[in-house]
Symmetry: C2
Subunit: 312 residues, 2 copies
Protein backbone atom coordinates (compact mmCIF):
# COMPACT_ATOMS: atom_id res chain seq x y z
CA UNK A 1 0.00 0.00 0.00
CA UNK A 2 1.52 3.27 -1.10
CA UNK A 3 -0.17 5.23 1.65
CA UNK A 4 0.53 2.75 4.45
CA UNK A 5 1.61 4.90 7.43
CA UNK A 6 3.41 1.91 9.01
CA UNK A 7 5.24 0.21 6.10
CA UNK A 8 7.74 -1.59 8.37
CA UNK A 9 4.91 -3.30 10.24
CA UNK A 10 3.59 -6.56 8.80
CA UNK A 11 -0.14 -6.97 8.52
CA UNK A 12 -1.07 -8.73 11.75
CA UNK A 13 -2.97 -8.31 15.00
CA UNK A 14 -0.71 -5.58 16.52
CA UNK A 15 -0.71 -3.40 13.41
CA UNK A 16 -4.47 -3.77 13.05
CA UNK A 17 -4.93 -2.94 16.75
CA UNK A 18 -2.88 0.26 16.33
CA UNK A 19 -4.66 1.43 13.17
CA UNK A 20 -8.07 0.61 14.64
CA UNK A 21 -7.27 2.38 17.93
CA UNK A 22 -6.07 5.57 16.25
CA UNK A 23 -9.07 5.56 13.91
CA UNK A 24 -11.48 5.26 16.84
CA UNK A 25 -9.97 7.88 19.15
CA UNK A 26 -9.70 10.47 16.36
CA UNK A 27 -13.21 10.01 14.94
CA UNK A 28 -15.39 12.76 16.41
CA UNK A 29 -18.51 10.76 15.54
CA UNK A 30 -17.31 7.70 17.42
CA UNK A 31 -18.12 6.94 21.05
CA UNK A 32 -14.42 6.28 21.62
CA UNK A 33 -13.34 9.76 20.52
CA UNK A 34 -10.59 11.23 22.71
CA UNK A 35 -9.98 14.99 22.81
CA UNK A 36 -6.55 15.96 21.43
CA UNK A 37 -5.37 17.20 24.85
CA UNK A 38 -5.82 13.67 26.22
CA UNK A 39 -3.98 11.90 23.39
CA UNK A 40 -0.86 11.06 25.35
CA UNK A 41 1.36 8.16 24.30
CA UNK A 42 4.33 6.99 26.37
CA UNK A 43 7.22 4.85 25.13
CA UNK A 44 9.95 3.12 27.03
CA UNK A 45 13.35 3.67 25.37
CA UNK A 46 15.89 0.85 25.94
CA UNK A 47 14.68 -2.23 24.06
CA UNK A 48 11.51 -0.44 22.91
CA UNK A 49 12.84 2.39 20.72
CA UNK A 50 16.43 1.23 20.30
CA UNK A 51 18.60 -1.82 20.87
CA UNK A 52 19.53 -2.51 24.51
CA UNK A 53 21.39 -5.81 24.03
CA UNK A 54 23.85 -7.09 25.28
CA UNK A 55 23.94 -4.01 27.54
CA UNK A 56 22.04 -0.75 27.62
CA UNK A 57 23.78 1.92 25.54
CA UNK A 58 24.34 4.03 28.62
CA UNK A 59 26.41 1.22 30.19
CA UNK A 60 28.78 1.35 27.20
CA UNK A 61 28.94 5.10 27.72
CA UNK A 62 29.73 4.49 31.39
CA UNK A 63 32.58 2.13 30.47
CA UNK A 64 34.08 4.66 28.06
CA UNK A 65 33.77 7.44 30.63
CA UNK A 66 35.59 5.33 33.24
CA UNK A 67 38.31 4.63 30.68
CA UNK A 68 38.78 8.36 30.22
CA UNK A 69 38.97 8.89 33.96
CA UNK A 70 41.59 6.15 34.14
CA UNK A 71 43.69 7.92 31.51
CA UNK A 72 43.60 11.09 33.59
CA UNK A 73 44.29 9.24 36.85
CA UNK A 74 45.94 5.81 36.50
CA UNK A 75 45.15 4.82 40.10
CA UNK A 76 41.49 4.52 39.15
CA UNK A 77 42.18 1.40 37.11
CA UNK A 78 43.48 -0.30 40.27
CA UNK A 79 40.49 0.57 42.46
CA UNK A 80 37.10 -1.09 42.77
CA UNK A 81 34.49 -0.77 41.42
CA UNK A 82 36.36 0.81 38.47
CA UNK A 83 38.75 -2.11 38.00
CA UNK A 84 35.91 -4.61 37.70
CA UNK A 85 34.24 -2.52 35.02
CA UNK A 86 37.41 -1.92 33.02
CA UNK A 87 38.30 -5.61 33.19
CA UNK A 88 34.70 -6.54 32.26
CA UNK A 89 34.93 -8.82 35.30
CA UNK A 90 31.27 -9.70 35.84
CA UNK A 91 31.92 -11.68 39.03
CA UNK A 92 33.76 -8.74 40.55
CA UNK A 93 31.04 -6.35 39.36
CA UNK A 94 28.39 -8.45 41.08
CA UNK A 95 30.56 -8.41 44.21
CA UNK A 96 30.71 -4.59 44.35
CA UNK A 97 26.92 -4.65 44.33
CA UNK A 98 24.46 -1.80 44.06
CA UNK A 99 26.69 0.56 46.03
CA UNK A 100 29.51 -0.01 43.57
CA UNK A 101 27.24 0.63 40.61
CA UNK A 102 26.12 3.93 42.12
CA UNK A 103 29.75 4.83 42.63
CA UNK A 104 30.43 4.24 38.94
CA UNK A 105 27.55 6.44 37.90
CA UNK A 106 28.37 9.11 40.48
CA UNK A 107 31.98 9.34 39.26
CA UNK A 108 30.99 9.66 35.62
CA UNK A 109 27.53 11.27 35.56
CA UNK A 110 27.64 13.98 38.23
CA UNK A 111 29.71 16.87 39.54
CA UNK A 112 29.12 18.85 36.35
CA UNK A 113 26.34 20.93 34.90
CA UNK A 114 23.52 19.17 33.06
CA UNK A 115 24.56 21.14 29.98
CA UNK A 116 28.17 19.92 30.16
CA UNK A 117 26.95 16.34 30.62
CA UNK A 118 24.61 16.62 27.64
CA UNK A 119 27.52 17.74 25.48
CA UNK A 120 29.60 14.72 26.58
CA UNK A 121 26.72 12.36 25.80
CA UNK A 122 26.07 13.88 22.38
CA UNK A 123 29.74 13.76 21.42
CA UNK A 124 30.05 10.13 22.48
CA UNK A 125 26.90 9.12 20.59
CA UNK A 126 28.27 10.69 17.42
CA UNK A 127 30.96 8.03 17.14
CA UNK A 128 30.38 5.13 19.57
CA UNK A 129 29.59 1.81 17.90
CA UNK A 130 27.69 -1.29 18.95
CA UNK A 131 30.17 -4.19 19.47
CA UNK A 132 28.20 -6.74 17.43
CA UNK A 133 25.89 -4.85 15.12
CA UNK A 134 28.85 -2.83 13.83
CA UNK A 135 26.87 0.36 13.51
CA UNK A 136 26.71 3.39 15.69
CA UNK A 137 24.42 2.94 18.71
CA UNK A 138 22.33 5.87 17.57
CA UNK A 139 21.61 4.08 14.31
CA UNK A 140 20.10 1.14 16.20
CA UNK A 141 16.75 2.82 16.62
CA UNK A 142 13.83 0.71 15.42
CA UNK A 143 12.39 1.90 12.13
CA UNK A 144 8.86 0.56 12.85
CA UNK A 145 8.77 2.63 16.04
CA UNK A 146 9.91 5.79 14.26
CA UNK A 147 7.01 5.27 11.86
CA UNK A 148 4.63 4.75 14.79
CA UNK A 149 5.78 7.93 16.56
CA UNK A 150 5.33 9.96 13.38
CA UNK A 151 1.93 8.37 12.73
CA UNK A 152 0.67 9.11 16.26
CA UNK A 153 1.82 12.74 16.15
CA UNK A 154 0.15 13.17 12.75
CA UNK A 155 -3.07 12.18 14.53
CA UNK A 156 -2.80 14.71 17.32
CA UNK A 157 -0.96 12.57 19.86
CA UNK A 158 1.83 13.96 22.00
CA UNK A 159 4.54 11.33 22.25
CA UNK A 160 6.65 10.97 25.39
CA UNK A 161 9.60 8.78 26.34
CA UNK A 162 9.48 7.31 29.84
CA UNK A 163 12.82 5.62 30.38
CA UNK A 164 14.82 3.94 33.11
CA UNK A 165 17.83 5.54 31.43
CA UNK A 166 19.26 8.84 32.56
CA UNK A 167 17.05 11.75 31.58
CA UNK A 168 19.91 13.85 30.11
CA UNK A 169 21.41 10.87 28.30
CA UNK A 170 18.19 10.02 26.47
CA UNK A 171 17.46 13.69 25.79
CA UNK A 172 20.75 13.78 23.88
CA UNK A 173 19.16 11.76 21.05
CA UNK A 174 15.41 12.27 21.55
CA UNK A 175 14.91 15.27 19.27
CA UNK A 176 17.22 14.26 16.45
CA UNK A 177 16.25 10.58 16.36
CA UNK A 178 12.68 10.34 17.67
CA UNK A 179 11.25 13.80 17.07
CA UNK A 180 10.51 13.89 20.81
CA UNK A 181 11.35 17.21 22.50
CA UNK A 182 13.59 17.16 25.54
CA UNK A 183 10.73 18.21 27.81
CA UNK A 184 8.83 15.14 26.59
CA UNK A 185 11.50 12.83 28.03
CA UNK A 186 10.92 11.47 31.54
CA UNK A 187 13.76 9.43 32.99
CA UNK A 188 16.03 8.56 35.88
CA UNK A 189 17.60 11.61 37.44
CA UNK A 190 20.11 12.85 39.96
CA UNK A 191 19.36 15.50 42.50
CA UNK A 192 20.55 18.85 41.23
CA UNK A 193 21.51 22.24 42.63
CA UNK A 194 21.48 25.69 41.07
CA UNK A 195 24.59 27.76 41.69
CA UNK A 196 26.19 30.86 40.26
CA UNK A 197 29.86 30.41 39.39
CA UNK A 198 31.82 33.36 37.98
CA UNK A 199 28.57 35.20 37.38
CA UNK A 200 27.01 32.36 35.37
CA UNK A 201 24.04 30.38 36.67
CA UNK A 202 24.36 26.61 36.30
CA UNK A 203 22.44 23.55 37.36
CA UNK A 204 24.87 20.98 38.76
CA UNK A 205 24.12 17.25 38.75
CA UNK A 206 24.81 15.92 42.26
CA UNK A 207 25.96 12.40 43.09
CA UNK A 208 22.68 11.57 44.77
CA UNK A 209 19.78 9.76 43.13
CA UNK A 210 16.56 11.73 42.67
CA UNK A 211 14.51 9.05 40.92
CA UNK A 212 15.19 5.66 39.36
CA UNK A 213 12.47 5.73 36.72
CA UNK A 214 11.63 2.04 36.56
CA UNK A 215 8.62 -0.12 37.46
CA UNK A 216 6.18 1.64 39.86
CA UNK A 217 8.22 4.83 39.55
CA UNK A 218 7.23 5.18 35.88
CA UNK A 219 3.55 5.97 36.49
CA UNK A 220 4.52 8.16 39.45
CA UNK A 221 6.85 10.19 37.22
CA UNK A 222 4.28 10.29 34.41
CA UNK A 223 1.88 11.90 36.87
CA UNK A 224 4.58 14.37 37.98
CA UNK A 225 5.94 15.34 34.55
CA UNK A 226 2.98 14.85 32.22
CA UNK A 227 0.01 15.18 34.57
CA UNK A 228 -2.14 12.85 32.50
CA UNK A 229 -2.71 9.12 32.29
CA UNK A 230 -1.54 7.91 28.85
CA UNK A 231 -4.06 6.30 26.52
CA UNK A 232 -1.32 4.35 24.73
CA UNK A 233 1.87 2.87 26.18
CA UNK A 234 4.62 0.75 24.66
CA UNK A 235 7.25 -1.18 26.58
CA UNK A 236 9.37 -4.32 26.41
CA UNK A 237 10.15 -5.48 29.94
CA UNK A 238 8.80 -5.98 33.43
CA UNK A 239 10.09 -2.48 34.15
CA UNK A 240 7.25 -1.22 31.94
CA UNK A 241 4.45 -3.30 33.46
CA UNK A 242 3.29 -0.66 35.95
CA UNK A 243 3.16 1.94 33.14
CA UNK A 244 1.17 -0.46 30.96
CA UNK A 245 -1.29 -1.24 33.75
CA UNK A 246 -1.64 2.46 34.65
CA UNK A 247 -2.47 3.11 31.00
CA UNK A 248 -4.83 0.17 30.52
CA UNK A 249 -6.85 0.62 33.73
CA UNK A 250 -7.96 4.15 32.88
CA UNK A 251 -11.47 4.86 31.58
CA UNK A 252 -12.17 4.91 27.83
CA UNK A 253 -10.21 3.42 24.94
CA UNK A 254 -6.70 2.21 25.79
CA UNK A 255 -3.87 0.43 24.03
CA UNK A 256 -0.90 -1.24 25.70
CA UNK A 257 1.86 -2.81 23.60
CA UNK A 258 4.77 -5.03 24.59
CA UNK A 259 7.69 -5.76 22.29
CA UNK A 260 9.11 -9.28 22.46
CA UNK A 261 12.73 -9.65 21.34
CA UNK A 262 12.43 -12.98 19.55
CA UNK A 263 14.46 -12.25 16.45
CA UNK A 264 17.88 -13.82 16.78
CA UNK A 265 18.57 -13.46 13.07
CA UNK A 266 18.05 -9.72 12.72
CA UNK A 267 18.60 -8.54 16.30
CA UNK A 268 18.68 -10.65 19.49
CA UNK A 269 16.39 -13.11 21.24
CA UNK A 270 16.05 -12.64 24.99
CA UNK A 271 13.46 -12.22 27.72
CA UNK A 272 13.43 -13.85 31.20
CA UNK A 273 17.18 -14.29 31.43
CA UNK A 274 18.18 -10.74 30.53
CA UNK A 275 19.75 -9.76 33.83
CA UNK A 276 19.60 -5.99 33.44
CA UNK A 277 15.95 -5.76 32.41
CA UNK A 278 14.07 -9.07 32.31
CA UNK A 279 10.75 -9.73 30.62
CA UNK A 280 8.92 -12.42 32.57
CA UNK A 281 5.81 -11.34 34.50
CA UNK A 282 4.59 -8.99 31.78
CA UNK A 283 4.91 -11.78 29.21
CA UNK A 284 3.05 -14.31 31.34
CA UNK A 285 0.22 -11.94 32.26
CA UNK A 286 -0.08 -10.01 29.00
CA UNK A 287 -3.39 -11.63 28.08
CA UNK A 288 -4.85 -11.12 31.58
CA UNK A 289 -3.98 -7.44 31.53
CA UNK A 290 -5.11 -6.79 27.97
CA UNK A 291 -1.58 -6.13 26.70
CA UNK A 292 -0.97 -6.60 22.97
CA UNK A 293 2.18 -8.60 22.30
CA UNK A 294 4.38 -7.49 19.40
CA UNK A 295 6.78 -10.06 17.98
CA UNK A 296 9.85 -8.46 16.51
CA UNK A 297 10.26 -11.49 14.28
CA UNK A 298 6.70 -11.73 12.98
CA UNK A 299 5.36 -8.19 13.18
CA UNK A 300 8.26 -6.16 11.85
CA UNK A 301 9.51 -6.58 8.30
CA UNK A 302 12.38 -4.24 9.00
CA UNK A 303 14.25 -3.61 12.25
CA UNK A 304 16.62 -0.69 11.86
CA UNK A 305 16.73 2.45 9.79
CA UNK A 306 19.66 3.20 7.50
CA UNK A 307 23.23 3.03 8.75
CA UNK A 308 24.16 6.73 8.72
CA UNK A 309 27.61 6.35 10.22
CA UNK A 310 30.80 7.35 8.50
CA UNK A 311 32.73 4.49 6.90
CA UNK A 312 34.64 2.75 9.70
CA UNK B 1 -2.74 49.90 15.95
CA UNK B 2 -5.18 47.37 14.65
CA UNK B 3 -2.53 44.68 14.34
CA UNK B 4 -0.88 45.31 17.71
CA UNK B 5 -0.24 41.83 19.17
CA UNK B 6 -0.08 43.27 22.70
CA UNK B 7 -2.96 45.80 22.88
CA UNK B 8 -3.12 45.77 26.70
CA UNK B 9 0.51 46.86 26.93
CA UNK B 10 1.24 50.58 26.79
CA UNK B 11 3.98 51.75 24.49
CA UNK B 12 7.02 51.87 26.78
CA UNK B 13 10.41 50.30 27.38
CA UNK B 14 9.14 46.80 28.40
CA UNK B 15 6.78 46.45 25.44
CA UNK B 16 9.49 47.64 23.07
CA UNK B 17 11.99 45.22 24.65
CA UNK B 18 9.57 42.30 24.12
CA UNK B 19 8.74 43.16 20.50
CA UNK B 20 12.39 43.78 19.68
CA UNK B 21 13.51 40.54 21.35
CA UNK B 22 10.96 38.40 19.52
CA UNK B 23 11.79 40.09 16.22
CA UNK B 24 15.50 39.39 16.66
CA UNK B 25 15.30 35.74 17.77
CA UNK B 26 12.90 34.82 14.95
CA UNK B 27 14.76 36.56 12.12
CA UNK B 28 16.83 33.90 10.35
CA UNK B 29 19.03 36.61 8.85
CA UNK B 30 19.86 38.11 12.23
CA UNK B 31 22.87 37.14 14.34
CA UNK B 32 20.53 36.75 17.31
CA UNK B 33 18.38 34.11 15.60
CA UNK B 34 17.37 31.27 17.95
CA UNK B 35 16.27 27.89 16.57
CA UNK B 36 12.63 27.10 17.38
CA UNK B 37 13.61 24.16 19.63
CA UNK B 38 15.46 26.60 21.90
CA UNK B 39 12.64 29.14 22.15
CA UNK B 40 11.63 28.31 25.71
CA UNK B 41 9.83 30.91 27.85
CA UNK B 42 9.08 30.35 31.55
CA UNK B 43 6.51 32.24 33.60
CA UNK B 44 5.93 32.29 37.31
CA UNK B 45 2.21 31.99 38.13
CA UNK B 46 1.16 33.67 41.43
CA UNK B 47 1.47 37.42 41.00
CA UNK B 48 2.84 37.04 37.45
CA UNK B 49 -0.07 35.44 35.57
CA UNK B 50 -2.85 35.96 38.10
CA UNK B 51 -3.57 37.89 41.27
CA UNK B 52 -1.90 36.54 44.44
CA UNK B 53 -2.99 39.26 46.89
CA UNK B 54 -3.84 39.29 49.80
CA UNK B 55 -3.08 35.54 49.78
CA UNK B 56 -2.19 33.06 47.06
CA UNK B 57 -5.31 31.48 45.57
CA UNK B 58 -4.21 28.07 46.80
CA UNK B 59 -4.29 29.33 50.40
CA UNK B 60 -7.97 30.22 49.96
CA UNK B 61 -8.47 26.73 48.58
CA UNK B 62 -6.67 25.34 51.63
CA UNK B 63 -8.98 27.27 53.98
CA UNK B 64 -12.10 25.99 52.21
CA UNK B 65 -10.77 22.43 52.25
CA UNK B 66 -10.14 22.64 56.02
CA UNK B 67 -13.68 23.97 56.47
CA UNK B 68 -15.01 20.92 54.67
CA UNK B 69 -12.93 18.62 56.84
CA UNK B 70 -14.30 20.40 59.93
CA UNK B 71 -17.85 19.79 58.75
CA UNK B 72 -17.09 16.08 58.45
CA UNK B 73 -15.25 15.98 61.79
CA UNK B 74 -16.08 18.78 64.25
CA UNK B 75 -13.06 18.03 66.46
CA UNK B 76 -10.80 19.43 63.71
CA UNK B 77 -12.01 22.96 64.40
CA UNK B 78 -10.71 22.67 67.97
CA UNK B 79 -7.25 21.40 67.05
CA UNK B 80 -4.16 23.29 65.90
CA UNK B 81 -3.10 24.15 63.31
CA UNK B 82 -6.63 23.86 61.89
CA UNK B 83 -8.20 26.15 64.49
CA UNK B 84 -5.75 28.96 63.74
CA UNK B 85 -6.53 28.78 60.05
CA UNK B 86 -10.31 28.63 60.49
CA UNK B 87 -10.20 31.56 62.93
CA UNK B 88 -7.85 33.45 60.54
CA UNK B 89 -5.72 33.90 63.65
CA UNK B 90 -2.43 35.08 62.16
CA UNK B 91 -0.57 35.12 65.49
CA UNK B 92 -1.58 31.52 66.16
CA UNK B 93 -0.70 30.55 62.58
CA UNK B 94 2.78 32.00 63.01
CA UNK B 95 3.06 30.06 66.26
CA UNK B 96 2.32 26.69 64.59
CA UNK B 97 5.21 27.44 62.27
CA UNK B 98 6.38 25.59 59.21
CA UNK B 99 5.46 22.21 60.67
CA UNK B 100 1.90 23.37 61.18
CA UNK B 101 1.65 24.67 57.63
CA UNK B 102 2.85 21.30 56.28
CA UNK B 103 0.24 19.62 58.42
CA UNK B 104 -2.46 21.79 56.85
CA UNK B 105 -1.33 20.93 53.34
CA UNK B 106 -0.85 17.25 54.17
CA UNK B 107 -4.39 16.97 55.55
CA UNK B 108 -5.97 18.64 52.52
CA UNK B 109 -3.68 17.94 49.56
CA UNK B 110 -2.61 14.30 49.95
CA UNK B 111 -3.90 10.82 50.66
CA UNK B 112 -5.79 10.76 47.37
CA UNK B 113 -4.95 10.21 43.73
CA UNK B 114 -3.64 13.12 41.70
CA UNK B 115 -6.71 12.74 39.49
CA UNK B 116 -9.11 13.02 42.45
CA UNK B 117 -7.23 16.08 43.71
CA UNK B 118 -7.36 17.72 40.26
CA UNK B 119 -11.14 17.27 40.21
CA UNK B 120 -11.47 18.93 43.64
CA UNK B 121 -9.31 21.86 42.51
CA UNK B 122 -11.23 22.34 39.26
CA UNK B 123 -14.60 22.22 41.01
CA UNK B 124 -13.49 24.75 43.60
CA UNK B 125 -12.10 27.12 40.97
CA UNK B 126 -15.41 27.06 39.11
CA UNK B 127 -17.14 28.98 41.90
CA UNK B 128 -14.65 30.40 44.43
CA UNK B 129 -14.45 34.18 44.52
CA UNK B 130 -11.78 36.68 45.49
CA UNK B 131 -12.81 38.43 48.75
CA UNK B 132 -12.10 41.97 47.52
CA UNK B 133 -12.13 41.90 43.73
CA UNK B 134 -15.58 40.27 43.79
CA UNK B 135 -14.85 38.05 40.82
CA UNK B 136 -13.93 34.43 40.61
CA UNK B 137 -10.24 33.78 41.26
CA UNK B 138 -9.90 32.23 37.84
CA UNK B 139 -11.03 35.47 36.24
CA UNK B 140 -8.17 37.34 37.90
CA UNK B 141 -5.67 36.33 35.25
CA UNK B 142 -3.80 39.26 33.72
CA UNK B 143 -4.97 40.11 30.23
CA UNK B 144 -1.59 41.56 29.12
CA UNK B 145 0.08 38.25 30.03
CA UNK B 146 -2.48 36.20 28.12
CA UNK B 147 -1.67 38.35 25.08
CA UNK B 148 2.05 37.82 25.67
CA UNK B 149 1.69 34.02 25.94
CA UNK B 150 -0.31 33.90 22.70
CA UNK B 151 2.17 36.21 20.96
CA UNK B 152 5.17 34.12 22.00
CA UNK B 153 3.55 30.86 20.89
CA UNK B 154 2.64 32.44 17.55
CA UNK B 155 6.38 33.02 17.13
CA UNK B 156 7.44 29.47 17.79
CA UNK B 157 8.03 29.72 21.54
CA UNK B 158 6.98 26.96 23.92
CA UNK B 159 5.54 28.60 27.04
CA UNK B 160 5.96 26.98 30.46
CA UNK B 161 4.71 27.85 33.92
CA UNK B 162 7.25 27.43 36.73
CA UNK B 163 5.36 28.01 39.95
CA UNK B 164 5.84 27.75 43.69
CA UNK B 165 2.21 26.63 43.75
CA UNK B 166 1.20 22.99 43.74
CA UNK B 167 1.74 21.38 40.35
CA UNK B 168 -1.73 19.77 40.19
CA UNK B 169 -3.45 22.91 41.46
CA UNK B 170 -1.97 25.12 38.75
CA UNK B 171 -2.53 22.45 36.10
CA UNK B 172 -6.23 22.68 36.92
CA UNK B 173 -6.40 26.08 35.17
CA UNK B 174 -3.33 26.10 32.91
CA UNK B 175 -4.92 24.73 29.73
CA UNK B 176 -8.25 26.53 29.91
CA UNK B 177 -6.89 29.91 31.05
CA UNK B 178 -3.31 30.15 29.75
CA UNK B 179 -3.26 27.74 26.83
CA UNK B 180 -0.37 25.98 28.62
CA UNK B 181 -0.57 22.18 28.57
CA UNK B 182 -0.37 20.32 31.86
CA UNK B 183 3.02 18.86 30.97
CA UNK B 184 4.27 22.44 30.53
CA UNK B 185 3.56 23.22 34.19
CA UNK B 186 6.43 22.78 36.66
CA UNK B 187 5.56 23.31 40.31
CA UNK B 188 5.79 22.22 43.90
CA UNK B 189 4.99 18.57 44.36
CA UNK B 190 4.41 15.83 46.89
CA UNK B 191 6.07 12.49 46.72
CA UNK B 192 3.77 9.98 45.04
CA UNK B 193 3.27 6.25 44.87
CA UNK B 194 1.68 4.04 42.22
CA UNK B 195 -0.70 1.42 43.53
CA UNK B 196 -3.37 -0.84 42.14
CA UNK B 197 -6.63 -0.71 44.10
CA UNK B 198 -9.54 -2.92 43.04
CA UNK B 199 -7.79 -3.59 39.76
CA UNK B 200 -7.31 0.09 38.91
CA UNK B 201 -3.88 1.69 38.82
CA UNK B 202 -3.65 5.03 40.62
CA UNK B 203 -0.96 7.51 41.56
CA UNK B 204 -1.46 8.57 45.17
CA UNK B 205 -0.21 11.91 46.51
CA UNK B 206 1.70 11.23 49.74
CA UNK B 207 1.98 13.62 52.67
CA UNK B 208 5.68 14.14 52.06
CA UNK B 209 7.21 17.00 50.14
CA UNK B 210 9.01 16.14 46.91
CA UNK B 211 9.99 19.65 45.84
CA UNK B 212 9.14 23.19 46.93
CA UNK B 213 9.54 24.90 43.58
CA UNK B 214 10.77 28.28 44.75
CA UNK B 215 14.03 30.29 44.49
CA UNK B 216 17.05 28.05 43.59
CA UNK B 217 14.71 25.11 43.13
CA UNK B 218 13.11 26.76 40.08
CA UNK B 219 16.15 26.47 37.78
CA UNK B 220 16.84 22.98 39.15
CA UNK B 221 13.30 21.90 38.25
CA UNK B 222 13.49 23.64 34.87
CA UNK B 223 16.56 21.52 34.11
CA UNK B 224 14.73 18.37 35.27
CA UNK B 225 11.38 18.94 33.54
CA UNK B 226 12.28 21.05 30.50
CA UNK B 227 15.94 20.18 29.95
CA UNK B 228 16.72 23.58 28.46
CA UNK B 229 17.72 26.98 29.76
CA UNK B 230 14.91 29.45 28.97
CA UNK B 231 15.68 32.43 26.75
CA UNK B 232 12.84 34.44 28.28
CA UNK B 233 11.60 34.41 31.88
CA UNK B 234 8.96 36.45 33.68
CA UNK B 235 8.52 36.70 37.43
CA UNK B 236 7.37 39.06 40.16
CA UNK B 237 9.17 38.21 43.39
CA UNK B 238 12.47 37.19 44.95
CA UNK B 239 11.28 33.62 44.49
CA UNK B 240 11.84 34.14 40.76
CA UNK B 241 15.30 35.70 40.96
CA UNK B 242 17.25 32.44 40.48
CA UNK B 243 15.12 31.60 37.42
CA UNK B 244 15.72 35.09 36.01
CA UNK B 245 19.48 34.86 36.56
CA UNK B 246 19.60 31.33 35.11
CA UNK B 247 17.86 32.70 32.02
CA UNK B 248 19.90 35.88 31.70
CA UNK B 249 23.34 34.32 32.19
CA UNK B 250 23.01 31.91 29.27
CA UNK B 251 24.73 32.60 25.96
CA UNK B 252 22.92 34.50 23.19
CA UNK B 253 19.92 36.81 23.34
CA UNK B 254 18.00 36.78 26.63
CA UNK B 255 15.08 38.62 28.17
CA UNK B 256 14.16 38.68 31.86
CA UNK B 257 11.05 40.53 33.02
CA UNK B 258 9.87 41.40 36.52
CA UNK B 259 6.35 42.61 37.27
CA UNK B 260 6.03 45.28 39.96
CA UNK B 261 2.65 45.45 41.69
CA UNK B 262 2.38 49.22 42.01
CA UNK B 263 -1.23 49.74 41.03
CA UNK B 264 -3.34 50.27 44.12
CA UNK B 265 -6.23 51.65 42.08
CA UNK B 266 -6.76 48.71 39.73
CA UNK B 267 -5.16 45.86 41.70
CA UNK B 268 -2.84 46.09 44.74
CA UNK B 269 0.44 47.79 45.58
CA UNK B 270 2.94 45.64 47.47
CA UNK B 271 6.54 44.44 47.32
CA UNK B 272 9.02 44.14 50.24
CA UNK B 273 6.39 43.72 52.93
CA UNK B 274 4.41 40.93 51.28
CA UNK B 275 5.07 38.21 53.81
CA UNK B 276 4.24 35.19 51.63
CA UNK B 277 6.33 36.20 48.63
CA UNK B 278 8.34 39.41 49.02
CA UNK B 279 9.94 41.40 46.23
CA UNK B 280 13.06 43.10 47.60
CA UNK B 281 16.42 41.83 46.33
CA UNK B 282 15.20 41.35 42.75
CA UNK B 283 13.88 44.93 42.71
CA UNK B 284 17.10 46.40 44.10
CA UNK B 285 19.37 44.46 41.77
CA UNK B 286 17.23 44.44 38.63
CA UNK B 287 19.47 46.89 36.79
CA UNK B 288 22.67 45.04 37.80
CA UNK B 289 21.28 41.75 36.53
CA UNK B 290 19.81 43.13 33.31
CA UNK B 291 16.23 42.51 34.40
CA UNK B 292 13.53 44.61 32.71
CA UNK B 293 11.08 46.05 35.23
CA UNK B 294 7.40 46.10 34.27
CA UNK B 295 5.17 48.55 36.12
CA UNK B 296 1.61 47.32 36.36
CA UNK B 297 0.47 50.93 36.69
CA UNK B 298 2.42 52.41 33.80
CA UNK B 299 2.92 49.53 31.38
CA UNK B 300 -0.51 47.90 31.38
CA UNK B 301 -3.60 49.73 30.17
CA UNK B 302 -5.79 46.87 31.24
CA UNK B 303 -5.29 44.42 34.12
CA UNK B 304 -7.89 41.67 33.93
CA UNK B 305 -9.85 39.97 31.22
CA UNK B 306 -13.64 39.89 31.27
CA UNK B 307 -15.57 38.77 34.34
CA UNK B 308 -16.96 35.45 33.11
CA UNK B 309 -18.55 34.39 36.36
CA UNK B 310 -22.26 33.77 36.82
CA UNK B 311 -24.17 36.62 38.42
CA UNK B 312 -23.55 36.39 42.17
Amino acid sequence: MADDPLPSWNDGAPKRAILDFVARVTDADCGDFVAPADRVATFDNDGTLWCEFPLQVQVFFLIDRVRELAIADASIAERQPFKALLDRDLAALHAVGKQGIWELFAATHSGMSDEAFATLARQWLTTARHPELVRRFQDNVYQPQIELLVYLRAHGFRTFIVTGGGIEFVRAIAESHYGVMREQVVGSSDKRRFEIVDGRGQVIKLSELNSFDDREEKPANIALHIGRRPILAFGNSDGDLAMLRYTLTGAGPRLGLLLHHDDEAREFAYDREFHFSPLAEALEKAADYGITLVSMKDDWNRIFGPDTGPAA
